[in-house]
Symmetry: C2
């Protein structure tokens, strides 16, 4: 037995008819291939110091026996998990879902698993950080999507040996990929101003339980800045904020629109909110692009369908860059954190026009 020739010629794995009877371990493979477990381990993982003939034999035997290494054991011994943990406020939101999709594609290709956690408030964030430190060995690294850490928390995390890249916010201690949200807010507002709008509503984002202040803050800053450049002062009464659900945004839009002094345009901080605004407008029989102009942010899949003018951020590319930073960080060389800022792009559609005659 353990005759390699026959084994490798036998065709499909013989498996064990014994059902879940006898999980085959590395020792079984070693015995069958007449080598030590050390050699099997090396051969299977493509490490050097294995003669090519031996490697072939081990591979054949392992396939024959249908051997599957036990992951927890390997992780325990090697001290590495090949897993990265991802935190998102809401896995179902469009931006997060496509981001996770892009990230997953890249990381899977590189041999990593993706552990997904919904982190919607500060308690959960705390829990996530604690649970995913190096010490617990749950993951090799962490990516925080719109789940912000303050500077000291981030430093503490890396000081303990944690590795992380952040998406959507920037911290010195962590590698990050972001966009220029001031520019986003400014671009969105400028297009409205240029069309002649003077009363521009601002639908701000209270991101989860204040997990990421910076995005809405920066976009609002852009909004202010664009006004300032036009020597205008926005009316604070035109500012409301909601979560990123269209249902809530719709209600909030009503607050803005159901008054006599209603704005002629609304800048919504994400497309999902903008959709809510459009629904509210429909409730009031206002024609988008004529009676009410709207601009959003993201370039959501459906934005094109409804003709929404928006500031596109290339989500998939952000995901790819995040993956790249991760892989780099998981490589052998230790380097300081890198910060990548990607471009955004104003996409003009039908939802913006000159102010209607009131």
């Amino acid at each position: 037995m353990a005759d390699l020739g026959e084994a490798s010629l036998a065709g499909r794995p013989v498996a064990q008819a014994a059902g879940a009877g006898s999980p085959v371990r590395i020792g079984d493979v070693a015995r069958a291939a007449e080598v030590s477990t050390a050699t099997v381990s090396r051969a299977l993982r493509g490490l050097p110091h294995v003669a090519s003939a031996t490697r072939q034999r081990v591979l054949a035997v392992a396939a024959e026996l249908d051997y599957r290494p036990n992951l927890p054991a390997a992780r325990l011994a090697a001290g590495t998990t090949n897993t990265i943990a991802v935190a998102v406020p809401d896995p179902a939101a469009w931006f997060n879902a496509t981001m996770v999709g892009a990230l997953g594609r890249e990381m899977t290709a590189a041999g990593y698993d993706l552990l997904l956690s919904g982190v919607a408030n500060l308690d959960e964030r705390q829990r996530f950080i604690e649970l995913n430190g190096v010490r617990s060995g749950r993951s090799d690294a962490v990516v925080l999507i719109d789940v912000a850490l303050d500077e000291t928390a981030a430093e503490a995390f890396v000081a303990q040996g944690g590795r992380a890249v952040s998406v959507g916010f920037r911290t010195q201690a962590l590698s990050s990929v972001t966009v220029d949200n001031v520019a986003v807010g400014s671009d969105a507002t400028q297009i409205l101003l240029r069309h002649g709008h003077r009363r521009i509503g601002l639908l701000s984002l209270d991101s989860g339980d204040s997990l990421n202040f910076s995005i809405p803050a920066h976009r609002a800053q852009g909004y202010e800045q664009a006004h300032a450049e036009a020597r205008l002062t926005p009316d604070p009464a035109l500012r409301v904020s909601t979560s990123n659900s269209w249902a809530e945004a719709r209600r909030a839009a009503h607050v803005l629109l159901d008054t006599s002094e209603r704005p002629s345009a609304i800048f919504a901080m994400c497309d999902e909110q903008a959709f809510g605004v459009m629904l509210a407008a429909r409730d009031l029989d206002l024609c988008i692009g004529e009676d009410l102009s709207v601009v959003g942010v993201d370039d959501h899949d459906q934005s094109r369908l409804v003709g929404l003018t928006t500031v596109r951020q290339h989500v998939a590319r952000q995901g790819a860059v995040a993956a790249e930073l991760l892989l780099h960080m998981l490589g052998p060389s230790v380097e300081p954190p890198q910060h990548v800022q990607l471009d955004t792009e104003l996409i003009i559609r039908d939802s913006v026009g000159p102010p209607g005659v009131d």
Copy 2:
């Protein structure tokens, strides 16, 4: 030292200023609490056979030392991972994303982690199944969302001790949550027939790389059936199929619409496709609900905004049920697989009207 009184009164954990210096292990806690590691293990996990005073002491010391159990070690020893692996064809697609969100919420609450894998073709499916068998100890169970297994593959999986629940398709060996897709297709078609449509296009779904035949097949069957009940025979020429992206659906819709004999209505197998149809209609200056009627399936978040008539399936509820089945299956009692079929609901909006005069 190891004086509990002081330790527990000391306030915040002293941690190790040594940075990533000395990971504290269960033995350290045991020493400090003057008990054995066995007792620490039991105390920390709330198992019985620990005196309440001892438990208190251990808990205090563990908190003081900021102890974090090493997961791979615990998993190896216990043979359980508290992780469930989820396979979806495309993590970014709306249905999948909201499903994963719902599932994650439930499972996290129950103390499980979610491992997310994009499984878009048969090779990846094969890999997923192999990698997530019990033997590898990667996950305790698997949920397959529109990633179908045939009966023999499913049986082989459970025979090896694998646990799985499937969403979107049904197999004897696996617990499943589904909807009646024949009814879905029939309902969608009937509403069109009732409005007087006689040439109804069918935009079918080639799900990934034929990972789940049954959904499009059943919906098509419902389409046929509704026609049959009305003593009609659908024109095979009115049948095309694409992936679930609106861009492809748009192109496909053009194939249907750019002819002289074009249909007066289109049944799209998911809302994302229906959006593509609506875009194509816009390209041709066809007015939805008048020149062309459209009905979709899912009740996507944006369907309301664009006034799409659709057959709603309660995604979140499906996710919750799947979680329930999972938890049940992970419980102590072994029971035969359960099959849950949930209701769907026709949601009438503006995208359906009588056929336009041609």
